[in-house]
């Protein structure tokens, strides 16, 4: 039943957000700390329990899969309700921040790929 998947997803999200609130309170921040991340790990753990197949093709999985597919539209709705008019004055900052993050990432790909394919092949490095 898809509703089982939706209920599982909602339950994980609620537990994650609640724990995030508790962690935030414990750290003295009036903020939710990592609630979404905790909920994601919880959902991963529960849908990958040994002997239980809660894959995207299963009826329960379809309930989770639907909301996974809805995330881009929801992000579009979120974008459409943001206070962009006030942010436009800082446009250069957004462009610089985004570009710098991409360049830094590209620069590190060859280095970490080398590590991924085994440090033993160190002598294979070429200058090209």
């Amino acid at each position: 039943m898809p509703i089982y998947g939706v209920a599982l997803l909602a339950g994980c999200t609620l537990v994650g957000l609640f724990v995030g609130d508790l962690i935030g309170a414990a750290m003295g921040l009036e903020a939710n700390v990592g609630g979404v991340g905790i909920a994601m790990l919880l959902l991963l753990a529960l849908t990958n329990l040994p002997g239980r197949d809660v894959g995207p093709a299963s009826p329960s999985g379809a309930g989770v899969q639907f909301w996974s597919l809805m995330y881009i539209p929801i992000i579009v709705a979120m974008a459409a309700k943001q206070n962009v008019a006030a942010a436009v004055s800082g446009g250069a900052m957004a462009i610089t921040a985004g570009t710098l993050a991409v360049l830094a990432g590209f620069a590190l790909v060859p280095l970490l790929s080398h590590l991924a394919r085994g440090g033993g092949q160190r002598g294979e490095r070429r200058d090209d």
Binding site: G37, V84, A97
Partner: protein, 252 residues
Amino acid sequence: MIDVARFADANGLLVAFVFVGLVMLVSAVLARQVGRGRVHASAIAIALGLVLAWAAGVDTGGKNGVADYPLLAGVGVLGGAMFRDFAIVATAFGARVTDLRAAGLAGALSILIGVVLSFAAGAAVAIGFGVTDPAEIATIGAGAATYIVGPVTGASLGVSSSIISLSIAAGLVKAVLVMVATPLIARRIGLDNPASAMVYGGLMGTTSGVTGGLAATDPKLVPYGAMTSTFYTGLGCLMAPSVLYLVVKALV
């Protein structure tokens, strides 16, 4: 005459589904016709959403983009915190624990390095542009990670909507740039095998950027990059409002 605004308000969420569906439809057409498949339709849709929010903000003088029009108030519900968190958690469903193990240490390491690296780049730029509030610096840094980590961090730290918009804009710049630049730079950074695709997905993080960029480079590499990038947002949402924010707070 029927009061259209009241009718739309009573059926707000349904109006929002139609609104977002139309925005995505227009974006898909733009991606095919104008962008010739170069830029992912979802990136165009988000950009279009931001443009509409900007136009609405100028028009109404409000803070909630198109949701300030009574007719489109439902967009504020669909784009609000509850649905946002719900859908983001659902995206974790695409990843498998066994695949995560297969990604190995380098894959996991690249996610951690990618989050910290992007956050540091974004935070440094924010400081360079004269932002002094630690919560705002952390939100911009989180936005440079992805356009999801930015608003999650911003909402968690309670910054203003304009800073959240900035962080989304930074994440959007990143996503679009990754999509466009990846096929051009793939050979130079050795992006031609599953291992480097996993590292690349972990370093870049932005799932739409990574999957769009890899699809334009070599469709066979998409699942490897998507796998690590799926965990990036989770780790970013976990680290940015907590550890990384505290580091910024201690340094500023």
